[in-house]
């Protein structure tokens, strides 16, 4: 499968891998948009700060990218696992 994915488009290999969502904690101010945009992975703690549940699977990658773009504090980063 990896060989086939590599043949389709540049960047496709990275899209097949799991990603990790990391929070820049000093930047995060608990606005909660990430929870609205990515409830599959993100919960909020007692104070409204994100609890990142699991890795980002390829199916959730688009939603995760939307959460990264949507964060008004630019406090989320998506990194290949």
């Amino acid at each position: 499968m990896p060989a086939a994915a590599a043949a389709t488009a540049p960047g496709a290999v990275a899209d097949m891998a799991n990603h990790q969502l990391r929070v820049d904690w000093p930047a995060c101010q608990a606005r909660g948009l990430c929870f609205e945009l990515l409830p599959e992975v993100i919960e909020l703690d007692d104070w409204g700060y994100p609890v990142v549940g699991s890795e980002i699977t390829p199916e959730l990658l688009a939603a995760a990218r939307a959460a990264v773009r949507g964060c008004p504090r630019m406090a989320l980063r998506l990194r290949p696992k």
Binding site: W25, P26, C28
Partner: protein, 405 residues
């Protein structure tokens, strides 16, 4: 054993087998050279091999292999900086202050060696801003080395628990507040001014210096085959506070005052782990041996509290909550809640489940390891003293007269 007394801090420093071997002849460069000689100029590859053989790990608490850090700094792009972090954010640790006062040139030999190996001519020295004697001692030592083609830059760290954390130190050096920030790469790859930065504490550089000055065989002569060398410990007990150098493999009975192995001991400082009464009797000063039973040596702080360990843990947690830099939400909100929950455990009004839940909630959710370290210490208190937790739940305490519950 000879003891030198360290001014107003009242910390006794005992002469030791290697790092603290020459403290009786004073901190001058001449005395240092008489005892230790001149360091050679090792090349990177053989030095990395030597570091691998002696297994030197960072002595700031995390215990990362020093050779790997050095190698990462050497391989990363850009001219590396060397940073000696003498700031010791943990107030219970006095070993780097003791080194700065009694053996500053050992630390500087290690730093200069590292700088030369990395092709760098600057060494940054981060000293505790509030400790005038450490500053004065390092300034004197630097003046004695005017002839060396190395630039020493001094930086004064804030008096705050998290100010000694690596990313916080690099912030300080950049002229920003001395507090942790999120880093996406280790400092060895991208640190001061975006360049590779070899940042370690004073003891780590002193250990490197010993290796370079006296060679691998001399280093291997101390400690055990699995863990060669020595470690500096800051011991707090009924006798006060002292800094001692112990060979790895030394029995705790030999380090602690007479019956203290039969008392609960907090190992590794405020971010450390609790040993139950008597548990240390069969254990030695050993990172791996302690790790096997879920204990940590951390930066070498050993606290024997006078009284109930659970109550002590609760007051340390309150202190650590106050020491949150307030930058990361889970730490700023979570640590005070955790301190409150643990206080409820000690006063017998529930809180145990809440304490465990809050430990999980703060872990890995900050720019630095302050929440993780706090949760580690709290969790260790709950798991090491279950009988004491039960006694407190019934309003008792085995350390209070008539409080056997």
């Amino acid at each position: 054993m000879t003891a030198a007394v360290l001014g107003p801090l009242g910390v006794d420093v005992e002469r030791g087998p290697a790092v603290l071997a020459a403290i009786d002849s004073g901190p001058s460069l001449a005395a240092h050279r008489r005892w230790h000689g001149e360091p050679g100029r090792p090349q990177l590859t053989p030095l990395l091999a030597d570091l691998e053989r002696v297994g030197l790990r960072g002595r700031g608490g995390a215990g990362f292999p020093f050779g790997r850090k050095l190698e990462a700094a050497a391989e990363a792009s850009g001219r590396p900086s060397v940073v000696v972090n003498l700031s010791e954010g943990e107030p219970a640790s006095a070993k780097d202050a003791a080194l700065a006062r009694t053996a500053p040139h050992l630390v500087l030999d290690g730093a200069v060696t590292a700088a030369r190996v990395l092709g760098s001519r600057e060494v940054h020295l981060v000293v505790p801003g509030a400790d005038l004697q450490v500053r004065a001692s390092i300034e004197t030592a630097v003046r004695e080395r005017r002839d060396e083609r190395i630039r020493f830059d001094m930086h004064r760290a804030d008096e705050a628990f998290v100010a000694g954390q690596a990313a916080a130190v690099i912030e300080l050096m950049a002229g920003r507040p001395n507090r942790p920030v999120t880093t996406w790469q280790p400092a060895a790859v991208r640190g001061h001014r975006g360049r590779p930065t070899l940042l370690s504490n004073g003891e780590t550089f002193a250990q490197l210096a010993l290796l370079v000055l006296h060679g691998v065989d001399a280093y291997l002569a101390h400690g055990t085959p699995g863990e060669p060398g020595t470690a500096l410990l800051t011991v707090h007990d009924d006798l006060g506070c002292r800094v001692v150098e112990a060979e790895f493999g030394t029995k705790w009975e030999a380090v602690l005052a007479s019956d203290d192995v039969d008392r609960p001991v907090l190992l590794g400082g405020y971010h450390g782990t609790w040993a139950d009464a008597g548990e240390l009797r069969d254990l030695t000063v050993s990172r791996t041996g302690l790790a096997d039973v879920g204990l940590t040596l951390g930066a070498g702080v050993v606290l024997v509290p006078d009284g109930c360990p659970l109550t002590f843990a609760a007051s340390v947690t309150s202190y650590l909550a106050d020491e949150s830099a307030g930058r990361c939400g889970p730490c700023f909100n979570g640590l005070p809640a955790l301190a409150e929950a643990l206080h409820r455990v000690t006063t017998g009004i529930g809180g145990r489940g809440e304490t465990e839940r809050l430990c999980r909630m703060v872990e890995r959710r900050g720019a630095c390891a302050h929440p993780d370290g706090t949760a580690r210490m709290v969790r260790s208190a709950l798991t090491r003293f279950p009988a004491e937790v039960d006694r407190h739940a019934r309003g008792g305490c085995s350390y209070r007269a008539g409080g056997g519950g």
